[in-house]
Symmetry: D3
Subunit: 250 residues, 6 copies
């Protein structure tokens, strides 16, 4: 059930029985020589829809721009500053919380979002407490990183070994190839990419990682791999979502 | 050419010959008894892709949450505060401006975004001037509201007369029916809706407009109308975009 | 009744029977070769006092600095950033709302303020709702642009035709000549001024409009015109204020 | 020379020989049973004009709303939060500094502004240094509190002794009576007012000082006193301004 | 009783009988040729502990970075911008106020903090009122500047006369020598230092005061002086704290 | 070498050969029935000094208040909001970066700081790039969490097994007992504490973890354990710091 394809009355009905919502969050950033700039948003969005289908949960509109300042040395990258992203998340969740939602499950496609998202959650709890919302104390946020699901991780290692790398990975490229086969890029590039440099600012990042890859070889990606990874991610995150909704309570 | 389906190298190539980019901006807000919560984003996104195709312009990822505080009395609405939206736009455009883009053309699906967007543009010019970007003085932003295109407006009046109203209009609902025929809602509701109350805060809005419509009868919408409206909007905004890029210069 | 010439006890008395207040808002910005930098504030202030007199409404202190970033290429211009102006308006109105005012009618002298003011209103409604003020849901803001009153517009066209232009207009200069005859400037400048360039950043504005005028010939202004324009504005906006206070309610 | 009654070209000419500007700053706040809400702004504005006349300095538009949160328990008071006021001052001075002004002399009518103003000055120096303005290192701000001029203080003590008090003082009321004799209020109130409570929040302030006075008896004020106080303030602050402009330099 | 050496249960117990807390605040900034960068924090921290001991008051963790932008031309200085410091103080005091503390007594070691602290207090009162805390109206903040205690001031004048100066003073250096005798610096420098230049931005400050001293001769400092000054400060501020807690109430 | 016990000239000398600095960061928050509220700051501060000694690195003043909003249900906890903490870190590091420092190594005592710190680092890189500092591209930040050092973790598991828990752990309590033996608390409490509830807002946290412990039994802590843990942390983080300074470079 997609929020943006629902009417407000359908949302009102949903809220009589549910308080949870799935929020896909990605990024708009360089993904190496053959990866799409929208990779992280595409993966998060597709997987979130799959999880929504399998759990009958509402899925909110995709957050397609995140925290990618370190990639802004490459054209096409769009990033929020962390301080802006915190305000964005606060406003986004406050709107939903005022309407009665209380359990916010982010399906995340970008490692760089995690810290700022977690910071934002703390800010959200505090803000909502200050607004004296009746159910402010029930508000809970959680992140499900599809690329860190155990089964996804294992398959990626099996398929690509060390060539999975840590950015512009064959696994995420594969998922986008499965979702958008018409956008598969034919580009040649060296098999090896630098790895092991920590991430600092944008200029430093580009000098360490000249074509944007971090140790990965995304030429190994195929749409078939993508389907397998996608299916695993949907399955794992569906379980995770249901645990979040029905899990251990104080 | 969609930014999120491009690689960074394709963006780099594009920037050698172009400095313009199209940015769809919508909203996530109630649209009456049969309108989708994503109406404004769906319309803006689809029309922007059409304009991008017809003008060979790059289209950035859709901004699907805007300024809809006055609709937050209805569940499912998600809104930024204007001060947050200004920061969001500043970050979004700064990222692109640093990469070399200078002409930002927003295809907008929501009247409530206009004031905050214009305020944000002023803030963007000032911020970029302060960063000493080489081409800061060339940065230009413009809004194209698809629902205010002359041809669109005329067809809407012809099809719906006064029943077009000013929110949850049959014309915008029609465009979403054309784009997402699978999400056409069968709901019955009275033909008439209140109109003429000015827009203030969220509680006031809901008390004035109990089902979310402002004077409109969106039961009149059909997917066929939607296609005609869509085609007119794409044509008008394509011309407008090209004028913006090649138009009168100081 | 001017707030700044009242005691707090007089305000308390006023609030027993009224909840409305008139707030003049102008700008401090270049107004071409013979226009005063304070033009927009002078006009708004004088007209607001006239409206206050004719409607027995309280008039708040003039906001004399607004959103004029695009004029900051000319010395003497002072501007807030939109994000600052939003905070300013939020604080200004929150102070008055806490005291019991609920209807805020801005008499505005500067087109460049409109977008940011409207954005600020949305932020105000949201902030006041969060403060749990008893009458937060009654708070209403409206803008009356004196230069857009129908009667004012018609007289300006009749007197100046196309030479009215859109900035540093003879009509606004005329009103300042009526208010401050001692500050009428004798300066010669060409009859024609550029027009038709959209407004972007400050550097671009000055290169498009080298002496600050936008298509206007303010040499045509006279204090007598000013009086006629002033009288029309006061009359129209007095009606508009009373409609705002007593008008259609939900 | 009043900025708001000048053209931008006159400002440009002024800047060829001067870099100083006088900025009146007051407040909009309760001033006891017979004091005007605009007292602080009225005094600052009038005295600033006098100083401008006697020193040939440019006088900027009056800042009529300041930091008066502790007075917001009384209706009619309008206050900025300190954080907002800092941004306001930063924007105000940045506009002028970009045009070439470097010496900012505030003539202040409200003790409650002093701390926030000083904080704002530090923020201004830092911001301007970050903008790489050529003359950023020359930017200097100073406050002249008219009510703390030695000669003013002495006359107030001579005229009123302990009845001068520390808010809603007869001396400031006298100056407003001199400037606006038509707004002299005939109100009776007890001679004595509480004094000696420190200033904390708004609710506390009103409970300590029920009619707004702090130890003063403003019934003693006369317009004649006002003229004498005004003349002394103008003379003292004119000297202070000239010292600021021509004074000890590093 | 030091907050950081207490358990939360001990704090809970304390709050049953007390609502006051002492907060040491210093700065991290240059203190001339032989003064420690931590001088202001060291003095505030030590004196606050002494006052806490003598009054049985809780002492909060030291705020060791304050508003020292004007010293940032010297390496080692760390400063908050005033706008950041206001937020910091608001968060710091809000945390304590929510737990039940209401009387906040700052023992301050740095003149440059005073304005921003006072601005922050106003912001705190306003914020807490907005949160509807039960005891928001009782919240009170006060600053005790140890170096401005009458007895301290008198002894400093007696010991050093004019050589006390106004920054990097022998009296504050003496207190640090008493607290950290192992960190006494043997450095030679001229007896005289410039004085009398007002404080503006960081570049200006360093050009006026090349070695960081403002008219002082801190070579005169001894640990024995430090002990005497420390004892006087503790005694005076202990009285001041008790007056604050038990003093005149509305 | 402690920054706060140095003179500015000593810092200037240090900067001729070093660009690195160690910054201890802790928190002021409840640490269960026998843990000190200052635990995280005490540990970070002491270990940072040890690392500074063993590596000849400068150690900056301790940041003793961090992100602990989820602990604010317990009295004595003081927390910044994440958005405030980002500004604080930006200002702190900007001051040092302007002076020539470029490598910022945080020794962190609180897991709850990590996300906000990482978010702040991204904001710092972006801000400094905007200021056009010559060495902005060299600025690098890293976090060393003493409690996550491999050797520390192993010893904690060996000493306490599952009773280490995840907040108010015996290992951190042990370190504070080693540092402040005079503040060892004799309190009895049950051996077992709840565990496994995720962390959300402050009210939820306290209802899940009524005495503040998360699965730990800090009664097991001894000062001797503390010394062993301290020594291991200093050794590991000293290596980590040197790798950071001399490590793999682009």
């Amino acid at each position: 059930m997609l929020l943006h394809l629902s009417t407000w009355a359908e949302v009102e009905t949903y809220l009589r029985q549910h308080q949870g919502i799935i929020i896909p969050i990605g990024s708009t950033e360089q993904h190496g020589p053959n990866g799409l700039i929208g990779t992280d948003a595409i993966c998060a969005d597709a997987i979130a829809k799959g999880v929504g289908d399998s759990t009958d949960a509402m899925v909110a509109p995709s957050i397609n721009v995140g925290m990618a300042l370190h990639h802004t040395g490459f054209p096409g990258t769009i990033s929020l500053r962390p301080s802006t992203m915190i305000l964005y998340i606060v406003d986004y969740l406050s709107s939903l919380a005022k309407a009665g939602f209380s359990h916010f499950y982010f399906i995340n496609g970008h490692g760089g979002n995690i810290s700022t998202l977690k910071a934002a959650f703390a800010e959200v709890y505090d803000r909502l407490a200050g607004l004296n919302l009746p159910h402010a104390a029930d508000v809970k946020c959680q992140i499900g990183n599809w690329f860190m699901c155990r089964s996804v991780y294992q398959l990626a290692k099996e398929l690509y070994g060390k060539k999975e790398g840590s950015h512009a990975t064959p696994s995420e490229v594969a998922v986008t190839q499965y979702i958008f086969p018409e956008a598969i890029k034919k580009v040649s590039f060296p098999e090896d990419a630098p790895s092991g440099f920590p991430i600092y600012g944008a200029a430093n990042f580009r000098s360490c990682y000249p074509d944007g890859r971090m140790g990965s070889n995304p030429a190994l990606a195929t749409p078939e791999h993508g389907k397998r990874l996608y299916d695993l991610a949907v399955k794992d995150l569906s379980n995770s979502y249901l645990e979040f909704i029905h899990g251990k309570q104080s």
